[in-house]
Symmetry: C2
DNA sequence: ATTTCGATTTATAACGATATAAATGCCGTG
DNA sequence: CACGGCATTTATATCGTTATAAATCGAAAT
């Protein structure tokens, strides 16, 4: 959009192109193989593509030579010619470092991409620009063959834009648009429902839940799960409005410290994030309340963190690496297939 | 190396090339601008590169038209022609998810790359293959213009290989090779020294330090800092050998639980990682030892995590996002400059 | 008037791959 | 023996950009 890229063009110094000692150890190309085998470049290309019209013996010979000289196709050339980039873009806001959220997902994604020609590119989305900007940019300039993003919203502009353009993508979380679209989600309804039931079963009489920001769909799911359990049991409850998982962790801590000091404080807390769970624990600690007795807590766990935390916290696990793996696989499937697939998968609470 | 990429080639279905409703809204190229301005493609190219031999007025006109039609250069074409990829590769082992380590560094790197034409590609390194493989692959196939990696070792093969080939890179941590190379490091000597002094000043009489694996240079730095402080004060000490920051967190916890139960247990712990620090806390908790009284702990903090942890832990901060930012900037500088720069920077303990 | 120069612009050829259409050679058939 | 048909190979053009060398033109110099 801006001329940023454009302006960069002329400013940078030209790096000297590595000429190498001789032309001998030059990077092997199709031409190299063609010369070695006495075939035409086109034939070599098709042979490596395993085109049936090339004789089997020729294919094998070409393959043999290719592997001997360590040929690997030039991605830039392939990309220029075919329009395929072999790139998957993970769009994320680098500032929302919710502990290992991104790391786990990257772990799963790289696992899914392993052994494929696809590369994972981190496309940062800075919060001072519209959410669709990076998406639009990627599509307009064909920066990637597929897009991965998270924190899906009920009427997500990104989903709408990508669907309109029939561009391969997968997101973590669902929309509430009528149209089906590929996604991987976690059963946040189940999480909150289960968490609430656990607390009620343990004897809690006033539940308190810290939800993600309302703009995210999974906040609604959590709320519904929570509300269902609470209504079923007719227990008192409260939904945190002043703070969410997006609040600064200091804000959450301060707020919880205040609430925890009140006489009619809640006795059962549900946290959708690890940081806010720690804040609950900190607030309880600071008021000399014993966790598991005076106050109870069920938290969502997305890393190994809580295994190290004392006192032990009751958690329900969401496997983000698994989600990443699944997302990667579904996206690749979508990219490979000519017609759109609307495949969805919800990871269940364990 | 393997024929993996090669074999993928033929297997995938060809995605239909988006033809668009008409040729009207086709992606603008230099040719488009050339037609609009009546100039030759070459002229447009040079104009956008701000070549002095193009008349100023022409340059301005071209720029104007380019921005009007939203022209952005095709990266594949640029890459094919110039050999420049506009890619920075962050090589990491996706399994070492030491909480937000990678996330923080990615945050800093994307910040450094912001506004430049460079993309950040995550190149996974799986522990079942040699450490230099991804590096060699990137260099051989010109997959990136620069490489970032972490966990540098005293005689790091990666550094050696990159230096030999004069390939732009920057690493987190130093080698002990004689040759100078670009790096960004944290003052781990200072960290351990300071941590030990703090514990001794608080009255600890037997210090215990959990070091990173010996193969990493910063383990040595920490050890020296620790040893210096310990010798200065003539206090008893112990260096964990059975567990390191690389041990599974369960192993660390079990080991510490055992040690913490011994009669002659250490009374001052130093942890170079957040997870091991939590393990120390957990072990103390499980033995009903009071932190800050029976047992003291100084930990390295690389995220906001410890702000939420109770009881409060004394920490010394290492800013990994800052390190990432710095690494990105130094790398870009190195890429821009024709001759190698050996710039180093050590972030101090705060 | 011819030459020379400097300031601009342009034509041409790559970079390495692939899609398209054409060519080659061999076979059996009429 | 000419022919069509089949299997296989090849020539050509192209993706969008940039490096190189050549061309254009008016003005100044001879």
């Amino acid at each position: 959009m801006s001329l940023e890229d454009l302006e960069e063009k002329g400013r940078r110094a030209m790096p000297e192109r590595e000429t190498g000692p001789a032309g001998r150890n030059a990077k092997p190309t199709l031409k190299t193989i063609a010369e070695l085998t006495g075939l035409a470049v086109t034939t070599v290309s098709r042979a490596l593509a395993d085109a049936p019209q090339i004789a089997l013996e020729t294919r094998q010979r070409v393959r043999q030579v290719a592997s001997e000289i360590g040929y690997l196709p030039d991605r830039a050339a392939q990309r220029l010619r075919t329009g395929r980039t072999n790139v998957i873009s993970l769009v994320l806001d680098p500032h929302e470092e919710i502990l290992s959220y991104a790391t786990s997902m990257i772990k799963g994604l790289t696992e899914a991409l392993r052994g494929t020609p696809y590369h994972l590119v981190i496309t940062p989305h800075f919060s001072d620009t519209p959410q669709v900007d990076p998406i639009r940019h990627i599509m307009r300039n064909r920066m990637a063959d597929g897009i991965v993003f998270t924190r899906t919203e009920p009427s997500d502009e990104r989903v709408r834009l990508l669907m309109e353009n029939n561009f391969p993508f997968i997101c973590h979380g669902r929309t509430e648009l009528g149209t089906a679209h590929p996604y991987v989600d976690y059963d946040n309804y189940g999480f909150a429902y289960l968490a609430a039931r656990k607390l009620i079963a343990a004897g809690c009489r006033k539940l308190f839940i810290i939800l993600p920001p309302e703009r995210f769909t999974f906040a609604h799911h959590m709320r519904h799960g929570f509300m269902t359990a609470v209504r079923e049991e007719g227990v008192a409850f409260e939904i945190a409005r002043e703070v969410t998982l997006d609040s600064g962790s200091d804000d959450i801590r301060d707020y919880l410290f205040r609430r925890m000091g009140e006489a009619e404080r809640p006795d059962g807390f549900i946290c959708g994030g690890e940081v806010s769970a720690l804040s609950v624990m900190a607030a309880a600690y600071d008021h000399h309340l014993e966790l598991g007795k005076d106050v109870r807590l069920v938290a969502k766990q997305t890393s190994g963190l809580f295994d190290q935390i004392r006192p032990r916290v009751e958690t329900i696990y969401e496997d983000l690496a698994e989600a990443g793996l699944l997302m990667g696989r579904l996206l690749l499937k979508r990219i490979g297939g000519p017609q759109p697939i609307d495949e969805m998968q919800v990871l269940q609470t364990v």
